[in-house]
Symmetry: C2
Subunit: 118 residues, 2 copies
């Protein structure tokens, strides 16, 4: 039962696209992630997913158009909606998603990682 | 389905201790709140509650000691744990809590307000 400093925890993350767990709240995890480059198109069948940008600019591509997020902005990807995060420059983001959520959603491939606590 | 800018939404809030809903994610609401002064001791029997400080310094008093949060820090109050938020100066915070959560938890009095969307 302790507080979490976002910048301090982000300093422990070296790999892009590997979300790390920093908090547990009810049925969800709070995660931090560093993003750079393009991810893959995927969706989460039963889970909404929140992206809050802490640093940089994040484009969340949707089939219906792009959402461009800058520092202090968030977007909640509704369950079932295909999305592909793209970060031209390094982005730091806070994620909130159910404990059951896989980073690649409905796609399981070499990008799939199981989140660990930091 | 749109992005949310935290500073913009906070600009719409005038009353202290009245959390406003800015997002819906699975069974939870994302809320924004401005805090100043002392709240009341209360707990949420079945719900963890997250406080992420966006501006200012927030003291969360617990029976076991105080948690002092500054910008970019969060604390998750576990279910059942009595707490009292105290803000000597104005604080802006993001809350995450189940849709069922009342701001005053187990205490219902003149401080109790139902959160509305902004």
């Amino acid at each position: 039962m302790d507080k979490i400093n976002l910048v301090e925890k982000l300093g422990l993350i070296s790999e892009y696209w590997h979300p790390k767990i920093v908090g547990e709240i009810n049925d969800s995890f709070v995660k931090l992630v560093k993003l750079k480059g393009e991810f893959i198109w995927h969706s989460h069948e039963n889970e909404d997913e929140m992206f809050l940008v802490l640093r940089g600019k994040l484009r969340i591509k949707l089939r219906s158009g792009d959402i461009l997020l800058t520092e202090g902005e968030f977007f909640i990807v509704p369950k079932g909606v295909e999305h592909m995060p793209v970060a031209d420059e390094e982005v730091h983001a806070l994620l909130l998603e159910p404990k059951t959520t896989l980073n690649t959603g409905n796609v399981v491939n070499e990008n799939t990682v199981e989140a660990e606590w930091i």
